[in-house]
Symmetry: none
Subunit: 377 residues, 2 copies
DNA sequence: GGCGACTGTGAATCGTTGT
DNA sequence: TACAACGATTCACAGTCGC
């Protein structure tokens, strides 16, 4: 690594720490979320989770997102007027969200069919890059009492990065582990928020649309790292904050209703952080110790001259002293030669090549695991 | 009832019959769907099902972990220069769709996150009234081969009427019957189209995105009546036509690729009108519930940090945030770590691991049962 | 015929790092 | 910034073949 790159990285790290010092970590900013977000520095948060109001078209009285009243006229013009107001509000908070997100940060938005399509189209128009739409399939939704439509049994989340080429955090291995060794899918079955978890005051629910902690838990575990800063512009009763605390993430909230702020602070105070070991998640092999194939050769786990083959033993190659392989006139690394022999653009030599070991034919990766176990610490 | 109203109704019925005579029922209109729809009279069809191009914007080639190639949708009809071009195209065909729909008709659109948000926002802007968004949860989606995102395991349908006050057809009772006497929900679990149903020619699929008949079956049974006219502007290989025939609905298609038109006509010719068995072969969403260990962790049934053990409490492990276990230097899923610690090739973690619960030591499976009871519909 | 092993495939915005 | 090297990564079905 060049000295210049090293210095650049160090400077960025220092700048990042300086910005972090300015952040209102663990605080709920009072007031309108757009105004509140304006006090947060550029490119300073790692993830935003937003559960914006969807108070649209609910029949009866209609109010704009800014709180002003819309006449209960339901002609086409008025619909347009109300959509336009909602779009304006959405564009404003999304603009601030985009400004405060780091280049490698990501944004989650949750909504229902009333608003999610407008939000999704707007995200695309603003340059966000949709990574997945995720369906929260409610295990116990409210039935459709009138029997006039399908039971509205899900909500939609959109997860997006800052742009097509932007990087983002995705803890693939942790998600796979969480889902019993199967890839996590885009449809999540989770119960709605109720029971002990549902905040109540005087027998009434404090917030009409409190989200279950399990939902935020999965979002945060999937797309942030320990210590990351998570911002929730529509904090409500603080589900995001409570889960962030439990998972060792930093949080910032925006909320204009004092009732919600108070309930949230009390709740987060009571939330117990997990200890270090519990927050640790399964790492991808990439993040774990890297082993060069050559290391197995020079330490004697695989002797030079060993003949290795593909699983069906149709293709064979010989290991050379420097860890390269040779097969007829062809030679190369375990990956390169594997790709060449298959005529494939790429190949993972660790899983393609096999070797006899204790009477069985095993992939190289198995030998690598043994090597890792033996040389650990 | 007034005589005038009676006369008005009779006149409308006669007009309706006259219009029906002009309709190209049971025919596939050749050419661009916008041009083709222009030949259809105003207010003459009862339901439109549209499966437009998704504008996937795919990058380079994609290969599977085993090196084989993924046969992606690279057809010219899915290529658009920009979101603006896609929007223009969408607005044009939706304008024609709105014109030919009867006042009490309804429209279905299916899409993925690439296009569905744009379509949904456009529908709202045009005055359509969204009745439900419906999620088709694929039982067997293609995995995410590179481990970079959540498995894209669903597509979204939007069902809308002509306006907020417009009437529409919804066969509530039929849906409830189809769903084991439970209200039909907005999430439908159905397999993708494959096996005998998938049209093939020379060993290759005729159409890259053929929809399963079960999907159209449910759409049509829910939102049309027998004898209604159903229009599909993106007819493809005619799933809509085949299901319409089976269910005793009239159909009209638009399709510009002659290869698809020919396959569709042949297929619809072979389709049999509905027999009773077709109803009973529909999938029930009450399939066996699968629970991942991670689900118990994120919903709080088992807290991260909990120490679990084998039945004799000789081996202990700690639960981490992602549902993995850690025991000394070893870690893994409940199944994997259990196997590793026993030196066994495999292990059922649900029965191997135990946890203290209400003073007793119980297998994880007991907690899973409690979870299932609590979250059951 | 039955069962298990093996193969093929589906609307997919599918990599990272160092030179 | 382009290029090359490294190396990480798949689930549910359906169909076929062989024992």
């Amino acid at each position: 690594m060049g000295q210049t790159a090293e210095k650049t990285r160090a400077r960025l790290r220092a700048a990042s720490e300086a910005v972090r010092g300015e952040l209102p970590l663990g605080r709920i900013l009072d007031g309108d979320c757009i105004e509140a977000m304006r006090t947060i520095p550029d490119a300073s948060v790692d993830m935003i989770f937003a559960d914006p109001p969807y108070n649209l078209q609910l029949g009866g009285d209609l109010s704009r997102p800014d709180g002003s009243h819309v006449d209960a006229v339901t002609d086409h013009w008025d619909q347009f007027d109300s959509f336009a107001a909602y779009d304006k509000f959405s564009r404003e908070w999304l603009t601030e969200a985009r400004r405060v997100l780091r280049p490698n940060g990501s944004l989650w938005v949750i909504g229902s069919y009333h608003n999610i399509f407008r939000l999704g189209a707007m995200l695309q128009d603003m340059g966000f890059w949709i990574l997945n739409d995720v369906v929260w399939r409610k295990a116990n939704p409210m039935p459709n009492f009138k029997g006039t439509r399908f039971t509205n049994a899900h909500e939609t989340l959109i997860w997006c990065s800052m742009g097509e080429k932007a990087k983002y955090t995705f803890n693939y291995r942790a998600m796979k582990t969480l889902n019993d060794e199967l890839q996590m899918r885009s449809d999540w079955v989770l119960p709605i928020c109720g029971g002990q978890e549902r905040l109540k005051k005087g027998g009434h629910k404090v917030h009409p649309t409190q989200k279950p902690e399990a939902l935020l838990y999965r979002v945060m575990l999937a797309t942030t790292n320990k210590g990351d800063v998570v911002l929730d512009p529509f904090f409500g009763t603080g589900t995001t904050g409570a889960v962030a605390k439990r998972l060792g993430r930093e949080w910032i909230g925006c909320e204009r209703e004092s009732l919600y702020r108070e309930a949230a602070l009390e709740r987060i105070e009571l939330a117990l952080p997990l200890d270090e070991s519990a927050v640790t998640t399964m790492q991808s092999p990439r993040a774990a110790t890297r082993v060069a194939f050559g290391a197995l050769v020079e330490t004697g786990w695989i002797a030079p001259g060993t003949v290795i083959s593909d699983k069906k033993r149709k293709v064979q190659a010989t290991v050379r002293a420097d860890g390269s392989l040779v097969c007829g006139a062809d030679s190369g690394s375990i990956h390169g030669l594997g790709a060449k022999l298959q005529g494939a653009p790429s190949c993972n030599g660790w899983s393609y090549w096999h070797v006899e070991h204790e009477g069985e034919i095993k992939p190289l990766d198995a030998i690598r695991q043994l090597y890792l176990l033996a040389t650990e610490d």
